[in-house]
Subunit: 312 residues, 2 copies
């Protein structure tokens, strides 16, 4: 039987999954990313877990489990070089050549990209974007990420770092962003941005107890300030999405991540804003849809899907 490996490298944990051709995660393991300061032992232990999963699966299947490649979603993962370049939130520092290091153990295709790109490609191979050639994925979370697929390929651009729509400037001279600039989409539609909007509307200070999840619950209870918060976020995200359509005319824009789980309180104003801001020639050509992948599976599935992308 044939499997792919999907690796979701986070700052704290690294989740590793053995994935079937159909997108079922049949085994999962993890190692603590932040216990490592060097790439060699990290990859050594990662490969150890991978070999253990292959051995276990071979026993389960009663026939050799074969790997077609290792896909890695990582902060600053570079598709072109197979490296992770100086990711600020990793304890393993420097320019990390995963491809070279993994090839010491297994001569397999190794494909890296960042987590939002991986999520987009997971949607393409296993989720709601199957059969589409042009779509965009927005991921809402601590930050706002995006992955862009054009003609069935992830857009990596000249540097490998394309698809950073969370840092397109939505409002000139707007909110201060962690990137050092002002008005990035992320400052309005990330979990933190949503909390800030809620607190501004209520005229109260931001405290750790106020979370986007809590604001979602309040909206479902009919709280007017919470509802207004999601309307504001929907309007801002709808504008960003309409602008993205002018670039690549996608068939659909997908949405995923914690804050997006609120559902209708966000989706209703989002769709209304998208229609309002969309250039008329694109009317009716692009749907807004929720990701069809499970939140706790998307990172591994997305990473494993990277193996399926044409690389020429």
């Amino acid at each position: 039987m044939k499997y792919s490996i999907g690796v979701d490298m986070g700052g704290t944990n690294t989740d590793i999954g053995l994935v079937t051709e159909n997108g079922n995660i049949v085994q999962r393991r993890n190692i603590p990313t932040n216990a490592y300061t060097e790439l060699e032992p990290y990859v050594h232990d990662m490969m150890h877990e991978i070999e253990a999963m292959v051995a276990d699966q071979t026993a389960i299947d009663g026939m050799a489990a074969q790997l077609d490649g290792i896909g890695i979603g990582a902060p600053n993962g570079n598709f072109y070089t197979g490296c992770v370049d100086n990711a600020p939130n990793l304890t393993i520092k420097g320019n990390l050549n995963f491809e070279k290091e993994i090839h010491k153990y297994r001569d397999l295709p190794v494909v890296l990209s960042n987590d939002a790109n991986a999520a987009a490609y997971g949607e393409y191979i296993y989720g709601g974007a199957r059969g589409m050639k042009h779509f965009i994925m927005f991921t809402l979370g601590t930050g706002v990420g995006s992955g862009i697929v054009i003609d069935g390929r992830l857009v990596h651009g000249s540097t490998g770092a394309a698809g950073e729509l969370g840092h397109a400037i939505l409002i000139q001279h707007g909110r201060k962003c962690s990137c050092g600039r002002e008005g990035c989409l992320e400052t309005y539609t990330s979990a933190r941005g949503i909390v800030q909007t809620y607190c501004e509307l209520k005229d109260i200070p931001v405290t750790p107890e106020i979370t986007s999840k809590k604001i979602g619950e309040l909206a479902h209870q009919g709280d007017p300030v919470a509802l207004k918060t999601w309307e504001t976020v929907g309007d801002q995200l709808g504008l960003a999405m309409a602008n993205a359509v002018t670039f690549s005319a996608p068939e659909a824009i997908f949405l995923m991540g914690g804050p997006a789980q609120v559902g209708e309180p966000l989706l209703r104003p989002l769709r209304a804003a998208f229609d309002k801001y969309l250039l008329n020639i694109f009317s009716g050509t692009c749907q807004i849809r929720m990701s069809e992948l499970h939140t706790n599976e998307v990172a591994i599935l997305g990473a494993s899907a990277l193996i399926k992308m044409p690389r020429n």
Copy 2:
């Protein structure tokens, strides 16, 4: 000898050129677009001019002039269908199947796209973008157009209408646009938008005597309001370009069209704004450059270049 045909279909005139492999326009002819209300006679007369150029060139070369295809830059020109779909400023109405009509005369590849896309591809085949895989062209004129090249291909998206960055909304609730929405880039950086900014700064009404060309001349004479106008335009265009980089991480952004001919009064603030608004991970990875094609040749060269694009 081998040649391509480039057709620049405007609302008033249609310019047709015979182009060498190296991008020299060796013959030009034109027919009055607005004298036609039906596609059949229009294509008949266009093909008549093309055959006349081929005959003339055969005589000049002393050997048969062969055509490898006909590229057409037209308003609403659709790459996927080979049609011009309901272009509002054409006297020939409806869904115009150029490919089918031309094939009545010659069995040649026929490739259509809009004029900004054609300009971008002309830059790629014959101009400053030779050898690049990722770049964007902004065309400033009556409107603001754009053409996006990713991995050596024009981005047409799911509908064929991708690359409309002139209608990305730069300023929410900003200036009224001809598209019916508000705040599009075009309302600030088109010839008309530039005139409006100048008149607002001077607090005078917009009159036909005030043109972007005139404001350019005034800037070169040191007129402070004209200089301030170009600074404002440069800032707005720089923001739009920095946002475009978050999408496709191009190696360069090219600029062409009448208002861009002003040169340094625009380019200096444009480059400063681009640096200011660019996400730090893209610093130093993308140049802003002027188109290297001549203004009066770019439309024909761009159209003829479309023939060279892989279509699979």
